[in-house]
């Protein structure tokens, strides 16, 4: 039968990547002082599964590679080998290497063999290294089963006679409990009969009397004769499983005195070669290895940037299919069922409609509305993924970077099961990586500095996610030295970003780091930014419809909080009227809406209009001017409404005719259906079928400041 194995590849790859993640997490969790055997077991199981699958699905390169990892881990698991930091680093490197290999294979690209060989050499070096508690100098134990070796040897003696009189004589005497392993002599004989002509002579003299007979025991033995040109291993294979459960004697039918030749049956060297093969390979490559190993070990942290890029790639890949809890699917199917029932009920009402059925119709419509809402909720739920999809990559990042910086840092993950829309998950990865790197590099101090400041040597970075309202909040909290307000202001003045005598609140001072071209690190490192970072981070987060806040206390630490909408498909909006048009302002960016009086207005020559709100001057954007529509109430400020919004940390007042109401709107892409329009992030369809534009508040603020 031919079965197309490629149909299992996708599942196999997904499983491998999951396995690798589990292995990585396990390796990072291993505590040198106190080795948890269950953790080692988990890591071993990962390697074991990948090896088994890759062999079966024909990726022998992966199988060979994981075989070495498996052997190493197996020895660790059995306590035959000590777990060392070096070994862990080598294994971590191998995990990366495997991931690259699998990605290449998955994308049908050539595998970078040099890199693979390097990691393989490092693994083999580790395997043959001194950390082993026994067989210290011997290579990996190759167990050649004595049975396999000797028995086939015995059989060889007879093979020269096959041409004379082919056939075998087998004395088969099962032990009493052979049946209890599920083996059945009858089935074995059936197989023998398939190989050649079988004659069986049962010996029944051992069967006890009926009173003593235990029907569960096997009391019969057999003398068997099979004639035909049958290779020795085929006979042996049939009895393979009952080895140790019976007395077995296999002989060639005709026994003539004949010289035992050295000419071995083809099967023998084949068996020996495969069993013995790893030895020469191991020795050979370990000789050339030492130099490269250093490189391989050192490569880990250095490649951080590359790893990051790959991680981003992985996120995109993971997005092509998602795992959904079956409970969610069930809920969905349930809802669809309800909708169908309601629909058929409405159909019935409509069939012979008369005015006395209006009540029924109304009831049906109300039901339909409820079900549609539930259905929408269920569908959105399917797209929700736990944030651990993103978080799970960070322990490695922190491990690599902190060891490179020589800092001691513990990463705490809180609320990993908080769910967030798939589309947001994909886009939040990069900004988070950037922020965590910042905390690692600039936030947490060196161990000595921490001790001097009376803090524990190990710094803590906490990554926390939780739901608040219709939003998800992600916080990055470090207990480092915090932001230095004076330093920030000094730097900003030096760079000409603010006026010399500007008075800033703490919040405003911290916000300076989000300004383009601002970097406070004394010297640039390859780990975190070149001052192009934070403003990009903020822009990306605002592009997702979220915002970012920063709080810090000098000497105590910094907290960065990101607020994101749960989904990018639906948005909580405030409808506003400008002339005959309706626009949607994302609720998240609205601070407040007010009517203003003439007194608050302030015209600055050449700089447009502002109004004063609690001692702050806020620029006003006349919406009808920007969108070129006829205003409903003249253009008098006092007759309309000012919606105060915040974008990129800047407050701004949108002058509109009226507030219409809050509603959830489904976002339709304007770019896909029309083209990009500045100041507009998308469109939606209102209840009456007309189109309303959704405002891009940060874009509008930028637009108007020009």
């Amino acid at each position: 039968m031919s079965i197309d194995m490629s149909q299992f590849h996708q599942v196999f790859f997904e499983e491998c990547f999951e396995g690798l993640e589990a292995m990585e997490a396990g390796l990072l969790n291993l505590d040198m002082g106190d080795i948890d055997s269950e953790v080692i077991n988990t890591i071993f199981r990962g390697a074991h599964s990948i090896k088994g699958g890759s062999g079966t699905f024909g990726f022998s390169m992966v199988a060979d590679f994981t075989h070495i990892m498996e052997t190493l881990l197996d020895e660790m698991r059995d306590g035959r080998r000590k777990v060392t930091q070096t070994a862990i680093n080598v294994l971590l490197g191998s995990v990366d290497c495997l991931r690259e290999m699998l990605t290449s294979i998955q994308n049908e690209q050539a595998v970078e063999e040099a890199g693979v060989a390097k990691h393989k050499a490092a693994l083999e070096q580790e395997l043959n290294g001194s950390a082993k508690t026994e067989h210290s100098s011997a290579p990996a134990p190759i167990t050649i089963s004595p049975i396999a070796a000797t028995d086939v040897d015995d059989l060889n003696k007879t093979e020269d006679f096959e041409l004379n009189e082919p056939g075998w004589k087998i004395a088969f005497c099962p032990y009493l409990d052979l049946l209890k392993t599920g083996n059945d002599p009858v089935r074995m004989f059936r197989e023998l009969a398939e190989l050649g002509e079988l004659t069986a002579f049962p010996n029944i003299q051992d069967i006890p009397s009926i009173y003593e007979l235990d029907p569960e025991e096997c009391n019969i033995s057999w003398d068997l004769k099979v004639t035909g040109d049958i290779p020795a291993e085929e006979i042996k294979e049939i009895f393979n499983w009952v080895e140790g459960d019976c007395e077995l004697d296999i002989q060639a039918l005709v026994v003539k005195a004949a010289p035992v030749t050295k000419k071995a049956a083809p099967a023998t060297p084949a068996i020996k070669e495969t069993e013995a093969d790893p030895v020469p390979a191991t020795v050979a490559s370990s000789i050339s290895a030492p130099v490269e190993i250093e490189a391989a070990i050192a490569k880990g942290p250095v490649k951080a940037a590359q790893i990051e890029a790959e991680q981003a790639k992985n996120v995109v890949q993971a997005a092509s299919s998602i795992r959904v809890d079956t409970a969610k699917i069930d809920a969905l199917i349930n809802m669809v069922g309800e909708v169908v029932i309601t629909q058929s009920m409405l159909g019935l009402v409509g069939e012979n409609f008369s005015m006395d059925k209006v009540d029924q119709l109304k009831k049906g419509l109300a039901q339909l509305e409820r079900h549609t809402r539930d259905l929408q909720q269920s569908v959105m739920n399917v797209r929700m993924l736990p944030i651990s999809f993103v978080f799970s990559r960070f322990p490695r990042l922190v491990h690599d970077i902190s060891s490179k910086l020589g800092k001691k840092i513990e990463l705490k993950l809180v609320g990993e099961n908080t769910e967030i829309d798939k589309s947001v998950v994909e886009l939040i990865n990069d900004p988070l990586v950037h922020l965590i790197r910042n905390s690692l590099d600039h936030g947490i101090e060196m161990p000595a500095a921490r001790l001097a400041a009376g803090k524990p040597e190990t710094g803590i970075i906490e990554l926390r996610a939780y739901h608040r309202g219709g939003h998800i909040v992600i916080e990055i909290i470090d207990d480092g030295h915090g932001l230095n307000r004076k330093k920030l202001i000094g730097k900003a003045i030096e760079k000409g970003l603010i006026e010399d005598n500007a008075t800033l609140t703490d919040k405003q001072a911290f916000e300076l780091i989000f300004m383009p071209g601002f970097s406070t690190a004394e010297k640039l490192t390859d780990i975190s930014g070149r001052g192009v970072g934070m403003d990009v981070v903020r822009r990306n987060i605002e592009a997702l419809g979220g915002n970012i806040e920063i709080a810090s206390e000098l000497g105590k630490g910094t907290t960065i909080a990101i607020h994101l909408p749960l989904t990018l498909a639906i948005l909580d909006g405030q409808s506003v009227a400008v002339g005959d048009e309706t626009y949607i302002v994302p609720l998240v960016s609205i601070i407040e809406s007010i009517n203003i009086t003439e007194r608050m207005l302030n015209k600055v020559a050449g700089k447009g209009e502002t109004f004063r709100l609690r001692n702050q001057y806020i620029p006003i954007i006349r919406m009808h001017k920007i969108f070129n529509v006829q205003p409903r109430n003249t253009s008098k400020m006092t007759e309309g409404v000012i919606v105060v919004v915040e974008g990129q940390g800047v407050l701004c007042g949108l002058f509109v005719d009226d507030l219409l109401g809050q509603q959830q709107v489904v976002i339709k892409s304007l770019e896909a259906n029309y083209r990009r329009v500045e100041g507009v992030s998308g469109a939606t369809i209102l209840g009456d079928g007309s189109v309303a534009l959704i405002l891009d508040v940060p874009g509008l603020v930028r637009f108007s400041s020009r």
Binding site: F8, S54, G55, T56, E70
Partner: protein, 120 residues
């Protein structure tokens, strides 16, 4: 139609085994680990069990040992999926009551051929 319970924590292996056996006309049920398998084996009688050795929660060896204690599975053929290097595992499996083993990696034909050894 003989029924088979395929136990493996790896979804791809499980799928491959199931697909192969189903195309050969067997009635196949899947279990994700030993605990799952033991529950499923108690709800209906299978003619053969094929199980991976290394699994979380309950490994294949323990599963076989537990199943052999059940009157219904005293003589049922049980095969372990094992890697070539694991001769010790093969013997350990036998000691627990396994009928035999299938060596990984294997292709569908090997799997069917081996299964034919224990199912008539």
């Amino acid at each position: 139609m003989a029924s088979v319970l395929a136990v493996d924590d790896s979804a791809s292996m499980r799928k491959m085994v199931t697909f192969t056996l189903k195309s050969a006309g067997y009635d196949v049920e899947e279990a994700v680990d030993g605990v799952d398998a033991l529950t499923k084996a108690q709800t209906r009688q299978f003619d053969c069990i094929i199980t991976d050795v290394n699994m979380p929660n309950k490994d294949g060896i323990t599963l076989i040992r537990d199943l052999r204690l059940l009157p219904n599975y005293k003589y049922t053929p049980m095969l372990t999926l094992t890697t070539e290097s694991g001769m010790e595992k093969k013997l350990e499996g036998k000691a627990a009551g396994a009928t035999g083993w299938i060596v990984k990696p294997f292709d569908p034909d090997q799997l069917l051929k081996t299964l034919k050894k224990v199912l008539g």
